[in-house]
Symmetry: C2
Subunit: 153 residues, 2 copies
């Protein structure tokens, strides 16, 4: 991989959060790579990249932070993780992934997003497709994890 | 959608289980459709369809049934849900999805598979992309759920 696709995903996230949510996320700590069994937060959006790049993007946050984020997105006070919250997380992930794919160095389309909900969830990353992660944070909505895996095909 | 894509996925599953695992799964009960928040089993493989069809395939089973299935697949006795089990589930899902896509009426590629692991996991299916499900079973490995969502783009 000859370009920094996580940086593209981070830039796409900053732009999307600024435009759609009025809050600019900042990076917390260093980026890290994981394969094998990977812990994720309770609410996790997964969306595939396909075309000349094959991979996935992940945005993962606590239930509380998901409610805060989507309450702002929908201009309404949401107090449980229901259909509206999960639809909202899906929409934001879709916009971020689309903006990221547009920045990639090769032609990449988007798959259908899937939202995961559960406690102590883990995903499994194949050795061939390591995930890069970074933690990001906004004052208003708290921390979330942004992850991406991508390989040229 | 003018063809029965779940049937294609079921046929692909029967073929794959017969060839790779030496066991022919049978259908348990009726197929059903779900949107919104959907319960899945502890070990769930998700793989996207893209190209002229956009969607996903899901194979979901208990941890016990995953260990039984992959023990047979790898000709070894697996007693915990580790990397090997999750890699095996991923490989089987990938073969099933590839065989299903080859049967579809329009040109469809595969995304990168993701394996989910967790207790009381749920996924969220958008109203625009309802999931079709069927429960299947083999004598040797017990029940599993096969699901698919697909729309022409």
């Amino acid at each position: 991989m000859n370009f920094d696709y996580l940086q593209d995903c981070m830039d796409a996230t900053v732009n999307t959060y600024e435009k759609m949510l009025g809050n600019v996320p900042v990076v917390v700590g260093e980026r890290y790579t994981q394969t094998g069994i990977i812990n994720v937060h309770d609410v996790t959006a997964l969306i595939g990249f396909n075309g000349d790049g094959l991979g996935s993007l992940l945005i993962s946050m606590s239930q509380e932070n998901a409610m805060k984020t989507i309450s702002k997105f929908l201009y309404t006070e949401l107090t449980e993780v229901d259909d509206d919250v999960l639809d909202g997380v899906e929409e934001i992930a879709n916009i971020v992934a689309g903006a990221a794919a547009a920045r990639f160095k090769f032609k990449t389309g988007l798959g259908l997003p899937t939202i995961l909900l559960g406690e102590k969830q883990r995903i499994h990353g194949n050795e061939d497709a390591p995930w890069l992660f970074i933690t990001m944070k906004t004052e208003a909505f708290g921390e979330f994890t942004l992850g991406a895996t991508l390989k040229e095909v």
